[in-house]
């Protein structure tokens, strides 16, 4: 369960990225965060992985206040959250297999177990034949699927996706959405930040709409 109460995030330059943000996300829920660029979607997701702290307000995940976390607790938190970054953050010097395995390596998994899990995830995202390829050798859609594979390989409790369909062609958009839906059906709580109206409208899930850092609507169904 994720709970945000009266969250305010103001950056040192005075920009207010989020204000008066209060909402809850139940376990296993699929949630869209929508809004134009600069609405605060990415900031909100980064607050959830404790990339930075809120200026005020409270963020609770599984009953624990993120602001009180020490370094060790932040590590534990991040291991139960998969994150698909807007810029993907794939490492160019590692091949597909190694990029995905990174998430398991930091958890201290054994090599055999890591191999088994990575292969299973590669099958799920339909990239098994590309395991030896490097990011530079892949298309936009394939790169996006590698990023998704890395975020779900450890079976995280939560999956946060920042514009997962932003850099892919329309044909790949639906395969990615199908994949996110499939992950959600396994019980993973999924939060997707997007401004893709078509995607949001088609899935008919809960939608929180942000504008200038404030929640302007929270309802099930459509983008608008």
């Amino acid at each position: 369960m994720i709970k945000l109460f009266d969250v305010l995030k103001r950056f040192p330059d005075g920009t207010t990225a989020l204000a008066d943000v209060t909402f809850e996300v139940a376990d296993g829920e699929f949630l869209f965060l929508v809004g134009p660029s600069g609405a605060g979607k990415t900031t909100l997701l980064k607050l959830l992985i404790r990339d930075f702290l809120p200026t005020s307000g409270e963020i609770n995940i599984d009953g624990q206040n993120l602001s009180t976390f020490k370094a060790k607790e932040i590590v534990t938190l991040r291991r139960k959250i998969g994150f698909i970054f807007q810029d993907l953050k794939l490492l160019p010097t590692r091949n597909v297999f190694e990029n995905i395995a990174l998430a398991l390596e930091v958890m201290g998994g054994k090599q055999a177990q890591i191999k088994e899990e990575v292969i299973s995830t590669l099958k799920m995202v339909d990239l098994l034949d590309f395991s030896e390829n490097f990011p530079a050798q892949l298309s936009g859609g394939e790169l996006q699927r590698v990023a998704i594979a890395r975020s779900i390989v450890g079976n995280p409790q939560y999956l946060l996706a920042d514009e997962p369909t932003g850099n892919v062609d329309p044909a790949n958009v639906w395969s990615i959405i199908k994949l996110l839906n499939k992950i959600n059906s396994r019980g993973t709580t999924v939060i997707v930040a997007t401004h893709d109206t078509e995607v949001v409208d088609s899935l008919k899930k809960r939608v929180i709409r942000l504008s200038a850092g404030r929640i302007v609507s929270d309802k099930k169904g459509k983008y608008n």
């Binding site: 992985i49 953050k89 998430a103 930091v106 958890m107």
Partner: protein, 291 residues
Amino acid sequence: MFNTVFKNIRRSPYQSLIAVSIMLIAFFVATVYFLSTLTDHRLLGELESRPQAIAFFKDEAKIEDVDTLKKTISEKITVKEMKYLDKSMALARYRDQNKNDPLLLELVTANILPSSLEVSTINAADLENVEKIMRQSPVVDDVAFPKTETKNLVDWVKSIRTSGTILVSFLLIECLLVLFVIFALKIALRKDEIEVMRLVGASVWQIRTPFILEGMLYGLLAGLFAWGVSYIFVVIYKINPLGQIPALAEFALPFPITPASVLLWGVTEIVAGLLLGFAGSFVSVWRYLKD
């Protein structure tokens, strides 16, 4: 973890080579300096253990006069050893020193050799005062004191020690700085990877440890190579030990070359290497990879 270390070395082999080379040079110089310092120490000890100021008495000097002089000296100076040689003892020593030259022995009797008092001090600098006291005594005919030679030798050894200490300190600081800069570069090169690792849940020590192990590995290699190179150096020195200076040759190595001593020497080099590698890499990760 070790896979990551070797992967990091493979990715930037020239940085690794520079780090190991610089540490190897520093360790080699430090080893040679350390061995020479031990040798200097023994040389100085040997010099200081020998009588430094010798008072030669007039023929009329009585044993009471000698005792008075001894008492005066020991009251004012911290004496290491005082040795009185009467005429017969002086003759015995003369005979021993010239036993291979019968001609010299024939012409000398105890009467023509003066009795003497040989004094050595704990601190070589006190010998000047001993000389003054000896010269003030009415029964002393002459005083032998190799003042300039001793002072020059002591100054020479001291300056070698000082300049050696400065050089080795400089080299060790240089090693630390080189390691610091190399690891700062490595961290900068892997900035993206480190950021991703953090975001997917790596602890700060999971990120830091491979760098520290890498630094220790450099130290280990440098220590091993320095051990090998300095051992070869010492063996060559032993075979041809500055042949023209026998006094130095005698002290070529301050300990015997046995398997145990060589092993201890190697272990010392390796442990020092590990510590230096640890320090250099640790300072860098501490500075650039904060919580």
